[in-house]
Symmetry: C2
Subunit: 311 residues, 2 copies
Amino acid sequence: MRNNSVKVFAPASIGNVSCGFDVLGLAVQAPGDEVLLSLNNSKEVTIKEIIGDEGRLPLEANKNTAGVAVIEYLKSIGVNQGVEITLYKNLPLGSGMGSSAASGVAAVVAINHLMGALLKREELLPFAIEAERIACGSAHADNAAPSLLGGLILVRQNHPLDIVTIPTPKELVCVLVHPQIEVKTKDARSVLKATITLKDGITQWANTAALVAGMMKEDYELIGRSLVDVVAEPLRADLIPGFRKVKEVAIQNGALGCGISGSGPSIFCLCRGVENAKRAGDTIQQEFNAMNLNSEIYISEVNRKGAYVVK
Amino acid sequence: MRNNSVKVFAPASIGNVSCGFDVLGLAVQAPGDEVLLSLNNSKEVTIKEIIGDEGRLPLEANKNTAGVAVIEYLKSIGVNQGVEITLYKNLPLGSGMGSSAASGVAAVVAINHLMGALLKREELLPFAIEAERIACGSAHADNAAPSLLGGLILVRQNHPLDIVTIPTPKELVCVLVHPQIEVKTKDARSVLKATITLKDGITQWANTAALVAGMMKEDYELIGRSLVDVVAEPLRADLIPGFRKVKEVAIQNGALGCGISGSGPSIFCLCRGVENAKRAGDTIQQEFNAMNLNSEIYISEVNRKGAYVVK
């Protein structure tokens, strides 16, 4: 007998990874969103409940990434199926950790599971991206792809979609620190300029290429030297209180590199080994504490499997 | 007894490799320049003869890349040594094949050999770069580094110098086609703009990162898809008669990708296997023939050892 209910976890992801603005995303083990999906005899996709969003997300299925992902999936396979969604919104909104992508990814993995895995994992990506586009107004794959597939993902091209999985070295550990302020993606976008200097462009593609090489060569020092963003970070740094100081002390205390996760305000570090990651994370938290800013720390290895069905 | 004379070959190189504008360079097996260096009892570095340049290069040692490379090397090790240089200028000038870099590289490898290999191979790079700066006015490492060290080189940063060797797949074959026109590096630089759109920047670093990934994953299709330059090529294409057509037919006839080598007018293709390379090269030459433009073709594997002493 086919199950008519499943719970799926989809992880947060570090968008951009400094130099890889709009093209790189890295999945972490935790935190992440969970979606509980149940089939029913109606013909409608509905959201039963959202837990953890403090009532801020829309309960209309066609305005919520989880709902849209399911609707688009069912439309694509031509099935008119009643579905009830419960969303456990563990990821803070507007945190820069790929929160909306994770909800959509969890939902589409769940519905595909209940439909007997009609589509392959990578075939689910367009639905998660479309969900982000409809629910959030932007259709980037740089959070959805790592949350779905795991690992470090390079989005070479959005239309048609061309993504590349970049192997990451074994001892790489991710630190995410979320200070309790909110940066709206819209605001983080609006500080960007429509043009950049050719010189900065050259620096950016040198570092992006070097970061990929560093990952594949397992050269931690090179990874550290390449985690430089001359395009978005200088413009977004002022949106996060104390960012420059936080970055400086993190690198002095165990981080190979440090930057803004997605459009912020979360800050990420990549470190070699858990000890360095703990040291870097603690240092950042102390720095925020000194500014009377509470923060949460998440330390984990790279998530190499992406979203998964919770047993 | 130490030899007091040596001949060194330094290969041509494909600068930029499409998306890697100003940061990537790829060494080929042939063609290349040769430098014959002889020690003597004078205290001067002199150029005895240049063969193959039709009298166009300066014979003053301090104005010639080969001469400057030797002068800077000797200055650095603090030796006042008489040296006589003969330069076999096999590479056409202003061809986009890293001609001036090859002369400087051959010269500095030769003098280091005669000085008993005082410095390691990679330590010679600053002299070759300095020679390019003094003799040609620009100090980029993207031709000198591959000519010296071999392979595909990523110049992550010029100051201080940070270069990364990118492994290349076994069956990769390079085609260089040099049409008999000259494009001055200065002219090729002057068509560039000081700013680019952020959108084009994102496309460029997505492709540069993907090209590195394609090389290291030995994914020939990905290499082909990533050989896209939206920054320099659209502006430089008009400097080369028929470039767009030539590129189109090359890709239809065996090339994974095709672009302008350095600042042109030479055109390069990367291909999988020699047969494809021959087909692409022939197609390009026929296309140039149809425009009454003579051209020379060079087909070779990637040069993975760089400059070498000729036995």
